[in-house]
Subunit: 625 residues, 2 copies
């Protein structure tokens, strides 16, 4: 009795060898073809209808099939793929009604749907064993089988793979799972690894590295993990890292190395959490500002720090993982998204992709707040971008009680204008430890509304309700007292903190303003404003406007989208089209150098006020101010 | 006064920037366009005629030009490129009559002409310096200039290059020599490196590694160098190396490593001899038998030693030099010629290419004698190939006084049948040291003719003229006595040596015979027989036939072609078309496994006789025998 059967699926023309008795559904899954199967193959939904060429090659009609199919359908060879077992070679037609429409993945945060179309896929191959009448080379055998089974011709291959080929083929009994990136063979394993296809999107921030582990078969996000960027010990902002890296080539290599080690740590944690093997990660997408981009690729950042601030390379880069010592499959493709200019990087490109402004009719603005804040303005016609040195205040640095948006951080607060009583919420509901960026913004806005700080940012000098005091010759407002709700220390906001925020928000506002000026649009022309950044899950946009961080836009136009750069990297991970869009968008965007604008100095100084020296710029706040 | 001029060459449409006062010939050379200039630019030959668009942009007409050009030609703007200096921007036409026909390179040894069309070329680029109004990335700047100057689009680039890019561009003052392999940028240097374009062809023999350093601009062979294959300490023949490499992966890595080190030694010597830098070697072609091929690529040889003797890969391989740690430019392309089967390697493919039998109407045979001897038979219609384990006797090993074909080796000798007086010639005319392969063949043939050894290979047991004696219980014939012509020892040929040669020649003859049988052709149908091998410059083909190493072919059909595999590697180095032909030929050749032929055992035993047990196989020798 024959144990193996060959089934050909039409109209795709895909052939596969299976075990006698396997269901049609199992075989379809192995080929990588798609079929509806809402119940997961339990003969319940009746969606996986197929037509068998030779009904006598199949098992008997089941009760479930009698229920789901009409007599006439059965007489025409209709079966349910999950019920029908193959006993002999046959041809099977998968009709249009049973096919899955294009699969989409929802990217959380930005809420965008993206078509699942990764460059990586795994295919099952059953190879003929060589004998003296068939002495084709191992690689040729694979090529021939790829052509016969999947109609794939002239597949390239990763050189590194060849050395493992002979053992894998023989140990697996000539049944292998082949991994392709585009048309390049990058891995060969025993066939039981067929479903292990993963990818990681990496967002390299100046202060944080975030990794997103994704199942490339389903597009599902499996795990997220982040660590502090270990480069921080060589400088807090990009300028100090450029300075360090420019001293000598060893310093550059060191910054590159600690970054790669950091990313490897993130990847290793993701794999442990998701219980998957790093060698089954076949694609990595990377975003980051231009300095992070260059340090990741071990490229000199020296000329990013010198006028005219020219990057070494701006286009998207594809490079094998082993060239960068990333601990994933050595032949995995690392796709680094394109950069726009010396100070507008791949993170800005990812912002564009994630918010979709490059495809939108609406004039949209993106403000991605970080140590460097990218401001992007435009629509599908044209886009301008610039970068402002806003400093790390919104990420909790340079703020006396500042901290990152992690457990224990106060993420939102209100201050009663009469009693000055403070109400707040911490991340995870834990005892308060400090203030993350969103709380700092709330704080300034609430104190401004309560009249504790004036338009110039000056904190009043008389104490009210025992809340204002002077410590280390700096005035400060006490938000939470030590012991209150389990606080281990007084949590305060200082005069110096307010100044820090004023500088930061002024930089951002000036960026928005100059971009609008250059595009010759007024605030009311901006139809949509996306605010992104590492604020955790929350940002009070009214308060952000109140302190003058954003132009005076109607609240329904402003949307907080969290880590848009990370979302963009994840979209690029699962979609070819998104990468093409990103490359196209990066080429199209016009970079605006803010410091070269004649109005820059004056604008920056005027924007230091709360919300602005010129109240007419904020008509909606006129009554309040 | 402007110091730079822009010249556009028509009809090619190539633009180049030059210094004011440079000659048109200099500029043409820089673009990479070709023009006749037999005298090398000394205004003597009058061949470099060009037509200038604006004669007023050029220097005055010289005396030489008045001599070589008619008044009418001068009035139409004709000039000599070597005499005409450019003072201002202009367009220059290079007429058809001044163009060089396709350049050909003569490959010594096989005497084949091959069109010079390497994959590697260097181009001169003068880039715009970036400023705040032009902040294109370094790479983009190069891409744009390549397109504008040379009409080259979408050039790929070697990732490794990017890290050096910023410094090279700025240190060279934005004037660079760009190296392309196909359409991939593999090197960027200051412009004065424009002429340094080298390649190395490597022939990896089981016992010898030979390197050929070639100038890829002219196709000229600059230096040849060889060393003993350092793998020899791990086994003399391929089988023992397979055995060693199959023990564990460390052994495989070791054989790979010593081979690479050996090749690097050859390359380093070539560079010292030719005074060129290894980093200007941009292409390496490699041939060798399948075991050498696999060890070079660090591929498992285990299954080459086990039936059905399947190679890991047979097609041609292109891989960057740094992946193999070859000490040439790290982004240089290493092209490994294809193999045919487990025991018919890239050296056989190179033999085919070098002898041109794949393009010939004539039924041709190639016998490439080495430790493994490849026998190839066919013409442009079809080709069969097989491999015989002939052992290293013809390379001087396993022969009492044997040695390689180097200075001091006796390379030819005759023995007077009456007096048994020996006349000989050594390589380099030095005192005799030993016998190389060609002399061993002469020896056996001459002793056979003199009746000292019989058809069965037995040496007569009575002494004649004091020439035959017994030493260490082995009979031997004294060819040169110690002291004679400065010989430091007696040079002899022993009974055991004769047996060794009988085994070797029988293996080769059997290969030729079975291939002819399979192709259903008789000796008289073979129109051409190329004999290749490491015999130095000389091989007495009549003697080779007399001992029965080759079938009985008329002497004018047999040609000794020296190291044909090396010649094939050199042809592939300078020519794209040759590589395509090689790939095509490798696919086409049918491999014949000799040991599977039912006649093999009997044939082998019969061919042990001198020239053969069946004298009818050698009708031309009937009288002699």
């Amino acid at each position: 009795m024959r144990e193996r059967v060959v089934v050909k699926f039409e109209p795709d023309g895909v052939k596969i060898e299976g075990r006698k008795g396997e269901t049609v559904l199992d075989l379809i899954h192995k080929t990588g073809l798609s079929i509806r199967s809402e119940c997961g193959g339990r003969q319940v939904c009746g969606k996986c209808r197929v037509i068998v060429g030779t009904p006598e090659s199949c098992s008997e009609i089941t009760q479930a099939e009698m229920f789901h199919l009409t007599k006439e359908e059965i007489s025409h060879g209709y079966r349910l793929a999950c019920a029908c077992k193959i006993l002999n070679d046959t041809v099977i037609i998968i009709p249009e009604e049973s096919r899955i429409g294009v699969r989409s993945v929802l990217v959380e945060g930005v809420g965008k749907e993206v078509k699942l179309e990764p460059y990586v896929r795994k295919l099952l191959l059953f190879l003929d064993k060589p004998d003296l009448s068939d002495v084709r080379s191992d690689l040729q055998r694979i090529r021939d089988s790829l052509r016969e089974t999947y109609n794939l011709d002239s597949a390239k291959f990763s050189f590194e793979l060849l050395s493992r080929l002979p053992e894998v083929l023989r140990d697996s009994g000539w049944k292998v799972a082949l991994t392709l990136w585009k048309d390049k063979i990058i891995d060969v394993e025993a066939s039981d690894a067929i479903d292990e296809v993963y990818g990681v999107a990496v967002d390299i921030g100046t202060s944080k590295i975030i990794g997103y582990l994704t199942d490339l078969k389903s597009g599902k996000l499996l795990e997220v993990c982040f660590i502090e960027n270990p480069q921080i010990s060589y400088g807090e902002d990009v300028i100090s890292r450029i300075t360090y890296a420019s001293e000598n080539v060893e310093n550059l290599r060191r910054l590159h190395k600690v970054l790669i080690e950091g990313i490897n740590k993130v990847i290793s944690r993701l794999c442990i959490k998701a219980k998957c093997r790093a060698r089954n990660i076949y694609e990595v997408t990377v975003v980051g500002n231009t300095v992070m981009h260059h340090l990741f690729l071990s490229l000199s950042t020296k000329f990013l720090g010198l006028s005219p601030y020219v990057p070494v390379v701006s286009e998207p880069i594809n490079v094998e993982a082993r060239e960068l010592s990333l601990k994933v499959n050595p032949s995995a493709n690392v796709h680094v998204l394109p950069v726009i200019a010396g100070f507008v990087g791949a993170d800005a490109v990812a912002d564009i992709i994630a918010t979709g402004i490059h495809k939108s009719d609406e004039l949209s603005m993106v403000v991605d707040i970080g140590t460097n804040t990218e401001v992007i303005l435009g629509n599908k016609e044209s886009i301008m971008a610039s970068s402002c040195a806003s400093g790390p205040a919104f990420e909790g640095a340079h703020i006396k009680c500042g901290m990152k948006a992690v457990t224990g951080a106060i993420e939102r607060l209100t201050i009663d204008p009469k009693t000055l009583e403070v109400t707040y919420k911490t991340i995870g509901g834990s005892p308060p430890v400090g203030l993350c960026g969103s709380a700092v913004i709330d704080c300034i806005a609430e104190l401004f509304k309560a009249g504790i700080i004036d338009r110039g940012g000056r904190m009043m000098d008389q104490d009210i309700h025992g809340k204002i005091r002077i410590v280390d010759s700096d005035r400060e407002f006490v938000l939470v007292r030590k012991g209150e709700d389990g606080a281990k220390r007084d949590i305060v906001i200082t005069q110096r903190d307010v100044r820090e925020i004023q500088l930061a928000k002024s930089a951002i506002y000036t960026g928005c303003y100059i971009l609008m000026k250059r595009m010759k649009v007024r605030p009311e022309d901006v139809e949509k404003c996306y605010v992104a950044g590492a604020f955790g899950n929350y940002l009070n946009l009214t308060n952000a406007k109140l302190i003058g961080m954003l132009p005076d836009l109607s609240p329904d136009k402003i949307e907080f989208v969290g880590n848009a750069a990370g979302a963009g990297a994840r979209m690029a991970l699962v979609s070819k089209s998104v990468r093409e869009e990103a490359a196209e968008a990066a080429r199209k965007v016009k970079y605006v150098e803010l410091a070269l604008d004649p109005d820059f100095q004056l604008e920056f100084a005027s924007a230091m006020y709360l919300p602005h020296r010129d109240v007419n710029r904020f008509p909606s706040l006129k009554d309040l101010v």
